[in-house]
Amino acid sequence: MALRRGANRRTSIPLWWASLLIAVLLWTPLPAQALEAGAAKLPITPPLGTPLNGYYARLGQGAEQVHDPVWVRCLYLADDDTKLFLVNADLCIINRELRERVLELAPREVPRENIILTATHNHSAQGAMCRNLLWRSITGRYMPEVLEQTAGAFAQVMHEALQNSTRAAIGYGTATQDNLTTNRRFPNGPRDSQIGVLRVEDSDGNAIVIAANIAAHPTTVDGDDFMSISADYPGYYYTALEALSNPGCVAMFFNGAEGDQRPGNPERKADGWDLTESIGRLLATRVKQLANTITCTEQPISLARKNAVLPLTMADSFLPTTTILQTLEIGDLLMTFIPGEPCVDIGLELRRRALARGYASQFTVGLANDHAMYFVPRELYGQRIYESGMNFYGPGIEDWFYREFDELMTRGEPAAVPAPPGEPALEERKSVLYMRIAGSPYEMGFQQGAALGETLRANYAREVVARCESGEWVPDSGLWPLGAGFINKTPLALLRLGIGARPLLAGLSTETLSMLEGMADGAQLPFDALWLVQCLPTYAATATEETGYPLEQMYLTPFCTMFAAVGDRAGAEELLVGRNLDWPAAEAPLVVEVRPDTGHRYLQIGFFWNLGVFTGMNDAGVVACVERVEAFGQPTLDGPPVEVVLSEVLREADTLNEAIALMESAKHVRGYSVLLAGADAAGAAIIEYNGKVQVRRPTNGIILGVTPEARKEQDEETDAALPVLTVDELRYQRVLDLLNEERIIGPEEIEAVLMDRQAGRTGKDQIRNAWTRHSVVFEPRELRLRVAVQGEDGEMSEFETFSLSEAGK
């Protein structure tokens, strides 16, 4: 027994040691994986005569001289798990033809998906590599031999970097700069003050690669040198940095979120090569200073990649619908590669999110792998700036990037992606179609878009696409009439329309914009297409002079009737509003109850396609109606359609005065009359937009959309002065006469007025006419409204009551 115990002790000692060893091994952090790196560079200067990329103004003509060579530079990185090539070239973009050919020729040692191709966005290097006809307007004619030579150099530089690989260490650092870059659109606009530096060195501490990351367009070559080949300021940077570094060090440059960024001019140089040299030299000096402080170690590297489906675009004829997103993690550093030109706000937000996920630093690298043009933040989308005009994926593109890169980041937890909102059901109440949407603005828009998508898409196809296809909306000026009859100009005409409608977004609240985005997504329409549909009535009213399109044929100008009785005239109700919407297009009416997470609930009566409010009331008893008044002039295209502004009023306004104040601030509105009423004050007002903003109050307890003012005109036969009223005034005079028949006006009297069809009248002079699509009686104090709509048979339905009070939900 004792022997047995002793034997146990003898066997348990080695076991104990083994266990201890295993525990120590498990507890001790593993040493960094062996890192290898190599670098190489090759000139890719094209022959003279090759068209340069970047400017329409060059008209595709060939380069006339070489100022300095353009390069492709490559860093090869490998550890036990990952091998990759990180390539930067002094090109304007990485176009698809180039990428595909490079990937065909690249060394097989590295998986295709681990090759990251970036361009510095140099505007003075070869174009000639795009087969797509539309791109050729910037890149010049397609020269397969230039593509082949350039792609061959890319492959060769990868081979050489691979051959040069050696045991290496890597590190990074960041510093701030306050004058190397600046915002090119807004003097004090946002800029990225970060300089990011990546240093890779061999086992002797000699730099293999020093790479810089800042955000600024390389567009300093101009004037007499406009047709010169050059690497722009990155070229001077390479030369200066390599001169400052050990022999064999390859300088690299990764441009950042440079969409709206350009180089600064710290040394106050005149335009020309002096300025180019100054920026390159200053950048190299700062980068070298920073690189000298970086301690390199064997840090783990990892790549993530996604072939992502881009948001819908009206430019899908010539822009990609899918693209490549990549991230490269080097220790605590995240490098985010974007296939185009993001504006700086997007880069800054990506950095903020990366840091929040636990990364120590983040570099945004634009112009990577693909080029889907510019990406602007939401607040710039409606601005008349070049970058916004070249952003083809809607105002939500920034969120799309945040969402997609959120998935690619490996640290921290990605934000939960909300499930798509459900689709609301359409209810029929006494022939009145009703729908309720609720949630965040995006969710509400999505619900409406999803429920009514078919109608929205049909409206877009019928009212916009078909008119472009027929040539009706293809402009007849400039270059538009050129081209043979078989050329389909529709895609470009649509694009022009879509871009042209964006300035109407100016001044729109983020909530409404978000709701529009949701509506577009729900309806599966590009944002620009959805917004175009929303703007059609405004375009219609502006007719041809401002837009160049015969848009009045789309929707005949609506004419309406709206009035209010206040105070004693409304009896116990204290405030009653009557409203007929006369709309020439025979479209199905719809009542939508909007229940936002924040702001007021409201009911709006309109059609299947509109997000704005033609007729509506919120749960504070604020009523809003709009009427087009031709005598007030044409609407402007400087801001959102008036009905969209009214939707914001109903969401925001607690009182009549707040509503009036909001509408008074809508200075861009013209050619309309807006009736506002508020239960709080038991009052109403008409805001007239006739070039000035004028507020009109009730007279004798009555206020009408248009006040009949008979003018005297000489009768030619009798030479007598006869009173003359316009058609609108005739209609309103009838309203006034009917209201004046009653001393106290109740809801039933309002209904009767709205349904009046005076004998002997047949057109616009009738209160209820063939174009009356809905009639509404508002009882704001009761938060109640009665709605009748025109059926398919042309007859009005019975009035159906809707309530915004809690009890009436």
Binding site: G49, P51, L59, G60, Q61, G62, R131, N132, L133, L134, R136, S137, G140, R141, Y142, M143, P144, S317, F318, G485, F486, I487, N488, T490, P491
Partner: protein, 541 residues
Amino acid sequence: MSDAPRTYSGSLKAGGRRRKVGRSVRAYGGCLTFLVVAFLFVGSIYFFWSTRDNHDANEFVAADQKYAFIVADVLSNRSVIAQSQVWNALPPEWGVEGIQNVLLQESGLPDWVLNNLITGDIYISGNDIDSFSDSVLVARMSRVGDLLEQMHRFSGSIEKDHAGGLGLRHLPEPDVYYAVRGRYLVASFARSALINALTIAPENRMAPDVFAKTMQQSGAEHVRGLMAFHSDDAWGEVFESISFALRIDANEAHLKCHATLRDMWRERFQKLVGGVQPQPLVMPPPGAMAALSANFGQSLESVWTGLGEAFGWTYFTPEQWATWKRIPDDGQAGLPQLATRVLGPLGPDIRVCLQGIDVNEMVPAPEIVVVAEAEPQAVDLTFAELAAAPPTIAPWRLDETQRRLHLPMFGGPSIEPTAAPFEDGILFSTSRTVADALLGEDGSAASAATRPLGQVGNLFVEVHPLPLVEGMVEAGRLFAEIDGLKKYTPETFEEAATNWLDRAQRVESLTALAALQGDTGEINAELSLRCRAGAGRPEAQ
């Protein structure tokens, strides 16, 4: 059975019977022979009488026919014509498939029957030159064919049509009316046209010698014809008459035409065509997709102003030309000065060709070359004037060493018009690349473009459809890829392109040569269509 031998002896009765029969046969045989001979005699008489040739073909042809076609020996040529590759090369919209089907169609009748029904040439004529609905066909039958037709009348598939005693026949299936007169088969799709043909008064018939001359074959053509137009006919405003001869072989088709211009039209275009005579033409530059060589005996400027006179076009007046040509006082020379000075002196010999389509240019660019004769003094003067123009304001670039004029526009060299004097005129190209290639370093390469055509005429056109269609398809594909073509998606375009290329690859070349006698208004033209052998086989439908 017993093996016992049996003997027979002929009985008298039996022998007598045999003899009796023999006598009877002889007796009856003689009678039968007589009957057969008589029948054959009568039959022969009927055969010869009923198939007698007692009519002439011209009896069924009016003297004032607007059109007449003679199809030579259609039955012999039918197979060769039907199997020709030419049918595959022609656009299906022309309805050629129907003609081919008719030629390939099995009639259900043995060849010997057909050969007897239609012997030799057939004559088709009528007056409705727009729809040819009143065509009357006259064909000569052999006696056997005539007899077979008479026998076929009893088959029941032919309806009798008394037609006031004219004795028409109606074939319901192809809806054809016909009548037989002597050994002539007269047929038409239009009953009234047939009746008219059968009842032409002798004085209105085509004279026998005229008819005989018409029927006389001039060469190896398969079809020949004549169309005489009234001034209100579709082509009558321009032409008085057109005659033609067509031959279709296994891989080729040749069409010769002779047309006479109407006096009114000739007067209207007097300035353009008045003194025109056929000229020795020069070959267009080699390697073209499509080429044209023309010589109307006058310069481009004269042609331009002549068009203005003929049509009254505003911009085609001599005054307008002079305005464009004059360099303004401020020296601001521009495109009008360049165009009029370079193009104006060109002629009378002008060759134009489409050398290619550069689909890699900023926009797909046709590469056109114009090689034209011009007065050397005019060319020298033009280049001297252009050289003197201030280079900063003139839109062109003049290479004085090589004497080449370039007009850089947008894009690359294929959209850079270039002109240079060479030999007896000017070479102009829309593409600098093509011009340089044709001119060479010293312009010597262009002499390849001056080989004589070897034929006399005023206009020569040659088209090679395959490279032309290939170029157009490649250009169209670029537009289709960006949704830039009406009615086509990239997919439907590829489908259509496959069809176009298939058709184009069947044709080797299409050539036309036309000669105009300005004083008489007569035009002679020859068209040839050459197909690639074995590029598609016709099939019986």
